[in-house]
Symmetry: C2
Subunit: 125 residues, 2 copies
């Protein structure tokens, strides 16, 4: 669980989400299909982003004939946890009360807040 993971630009992050949603190794077509829902783009655009993600160490690419397969090098859990840490430190200035307020004002309903509290309780063990 590496805790210094750079924040990805939006488009690349979107691609990672698609990759994480699949069983690795992932074919381009699968990524494309998922992205089509959330963030449609030209195929070459996707391939550019995949190359950049590889350069940044977020995925590895293996090629089989003319096809490439993509495997995440960083787990979604680690990435989200690292971004959460950054959020708390950089945005909330490390203050949990600021964080709590942000969560409450972020549009979550009372029920959802209660649910979140329960989930935190369970994870506390």
């Amino acid at each position: 669980m590496k805790n210094t993971i750079r924040r990805l630009p939006d488009a690349e992050q979107e691609v990672m989400q698609a990759i994480w949603a699949c069983q690795p190794p992932v074919a381009r077509a699968d990524i494309e299909r998922i992205l089509f829902e959330t963030h449609p783009m030209a195929m070459t655009t996707l391939l550019t982003l995949l190359t950049r993600l590889c350069e940044k160490g977020f995925i590895t690419i293996e090629k089989n004939g003319r096809r490439s397969y993509y495997t995440p090098s960083i787990s979604q859990e680690d990435y989200i946890a690292a971004q959460g840490k950054t959020f708390i430190e950089k945005l909330c200035g490390g203050s949990l009360s600021v964080l709590a307020n942000a969560l409450c004002d972020s549009g979550l309903t009372k029920d959802e807040i209660a649910q979140l509290r329960n989930l935190l309780e369970r994870d506390e063990l």
Copy 2:
């Protein structure tokens, strides 16, 4: 409480934090002093960032003689809440359990998690 607030690039966000930390309207020297701790930069760099923040609608600039004074147009609370919303939606896919896990893995201690739960309880009312 506007809920569509763009995410600022790091340097600009850092400047906003400094501005939010002061009583508006804020003089450049005050911002500079605070930034010196976290993110030192040339004075002209700071002024460039202030201009961009104004163009983006995050602050207003009033000038008095050759001096300028800066006032936030967007509150820190609104900004953090909006980013929190984006975090939950874009990164956690809207899943509270994913969010809870992220918080637990983000380096918070058990005590801090418990504290956060209490804060959420209080805000729930």
